[in-house]
C-alpha cells in the first residue's frame, strides 16, 4: 500500500505538502501552482493511468487559513487504484486551474463547485451556475451562509 503516493512523492518532491492513507484512502495535499501538472501526470503516467475523474468538490474550512479546499477523486480502470488529490485555496485569492482539458467530466463538477462554494476555475470554458437559479446571490455551501436564508422567487420570463 502507499504505492501511488510514493510515485507522486518521488516525481513531485517539493509539491506534495502532505499525504496520508487513513481508512485505506490514499490522499495527497499539493501546491496550487503545480496542481494542473500533477493532475496531468496522474492521467498520463503509465504506472498511474488515472483515466476516470470521479469527483471534484470544494470544502469550506471556515476559521482556517487557507479557507477552502478543492478535492479531486481519481480512479484508474486498468490499474484499479484510487487517489484523492487536495489543494488549499485562500479566500482572498480563490481560484484553481481548471482540468477540463484533461478530463471532460470535470466540466460540470467544476461548475457545481463554483456554484456551491464559490471557487473559480481558471480556464473553464463556461463557468456559470449549474444547480441554482441565475439570480441567486452567494454560495450556499459556505459555512457562513445560513441554511434557510431565502431569496426572491424568480418570476416567469414572459407572458404565456
Amino acid at each position: 500500500m502507499g504505492k501511488v503516493i510514493d510515485i507522486f512523492k518521488a516525481r513531485w518532491v517539493g509539491s506534495v505538502l502532505d499525504s496520508h492513507e487513513n481508512y485505506g484512502d490514499e490522499t495527497i495535499l499539493v501546491k496550487r501552482e503545480d496542481l494542473f501538472f500533477i493532475l496531468q501526470f496522474a492521467k498520463e503516467d503509465l504506472d498511474l493511468h488515472f483515466d476516470l475523474l470521479m469527483d471534484v468538490c470544494g470544502v469550506d474550512y471556515l476559521g482556517q487559513t487557507p479557507r477552502f479546499e478543492v478535492v479531486y477523486h481519481l480512479y484508474s480502470v486498468s490499474k484499479n487504484h484510487r487517489i484523492r488529490i487536495k489543494v488549499r485555496v485562500p479566500e482572498e485569492d480563490c481560484w484553481v486551474p481548471s482540468c477540463v482539458s484533461l478530463w471532460r467530466a470535470a466540466d460540470w463538477f467544476e461548475r457545481e463547485t463554483w456554484d456551491m462554494v464559490g471557487i473559480r476555475f481558471e480556464g473553464h470554458p463556461n463557468l456559470k451556475r449549474v444547480l441554482l437559479f441565475e439570480e441567486f446571490q452567494g454560495h450556499p455551501l459556505r459555512k457562513d451562509y445560513p441554511i434557510n436564508k431565502r431569496q426572491k422567487i424568480p418570476e416567469p420570463l414572459e407572458q404565456p
Binding site: 441554482l132 437559479f133 441567486f136 450556499p140 451562509y145 445560513p146 441554511i147 434557510n148 436564508k149 431565502r150 431569496q151 422567487i153 424568480p154 418570476e155 416567469p156 420570463l157 404565456p160
Partner: protein, 170 residues
C-alpha cells in the same frame, strides 16, 4: 307510450349536471418532479387504478387538462415554470398539492425549496405524506370531486377569486 316517455326524463339543475360532468372526467396533468411522481405512477397502474375515478386520461399539456397535480418538491428555480404552467391552463382548473414538499416544503427547510406551492399558485386539495400512498392520491381525487359538487352552486368556479394569494393576472 306515456309511461315510456315519463321514464326517459330526468330533472335536475344545470349546475349539478355540469359538476357531474366535470368531476367524473378530470383530465390530470402530472407536474411530477420527485418521489411523489413515482407514487402517482403507482396510482395509475393496474393495481390501484385511478381510471375508476374517471381521471385516467393523463394529459401532459396544460392546454388540454383541468387538474394540475403537483407531485414533488418545487424549488425556486422551478417556481416560475410552475406558475407559467398554471397560467397556461384554461378555466375551470383545480390544483392538488401532493406530498409534504408541495404542501409545505416537507423537511427541506432551506435556501432552495419553496415552502409550499401556495406561495405561487392557489391550491384546492393538499395531500400529506412523504410520499403519500397511491390510495391517498385517489382519496385526493375523491375529495376534489366532492369539492366540485359543492362549488357547483357558486357562480364563479375555478381559480378566479378563489384564493387571496391568486393574482388577477391569470
Amino acid at each position: 307510450m306515456a309511461s315510456v316517455v315519463e321514464n326517459n326524463f330526468l330533472t335536475t339543475k344545470l349546475s349539478e349536471v355540469v359538476a357531474w360532468g366535470r368531476k367524473f372526467s378530470l383530465w390530470p396533468m402530472p407536474f411530477g418532479t420527485a418521489c411523489c411522481a413515482i407514487e402517482f405512477m403507482g396510482a395509475v397502474d393496474s393495481v390501484f387504478d385511478i381510471s375508476r375515478f374517471g381521471a385516467e386520461l393523463v394529459r401532459f399539456s396544460p392546454r388540454q387538462s383541468d387538474l394540475l397535480l403537483v407531485l414533488g418538491t418545487i424549488n425556486y428555480k422551478q417556481a416560475p415554470v410552475l406558475k407559467k404552467i398554471y397560467q397556461q391552463m384554461c378555466e375551470p382548473k383545480w390544483v392538488v398539492a401532493v406530498g409534504a414538499c408541495a404542501t409545505c416544503g416537507g423537511f427541506y427547510d432551506n435556501y432552495s425549496v419553496l415552502q409550499g406551492i401556495d406561495e405561487v399558485i392557489p391550491v384546492d386539495v393538499y395531500v400529506p405524506g412523504c410520499p403519500p400512498r397511491p390510495e391517498a392520491i385517489l382519496m385526493a381525487v375523491v375529495k376534489l370531486q366532492e369539492k366540485i359538487t359543492r362549488e357547483a352552486t357558486q357562480t364563479s368556479v375555478g381559480a378566479t377569486g378563489r384564493s387571496p394569494l391568486h393574482k388577477k393576472s391569470a
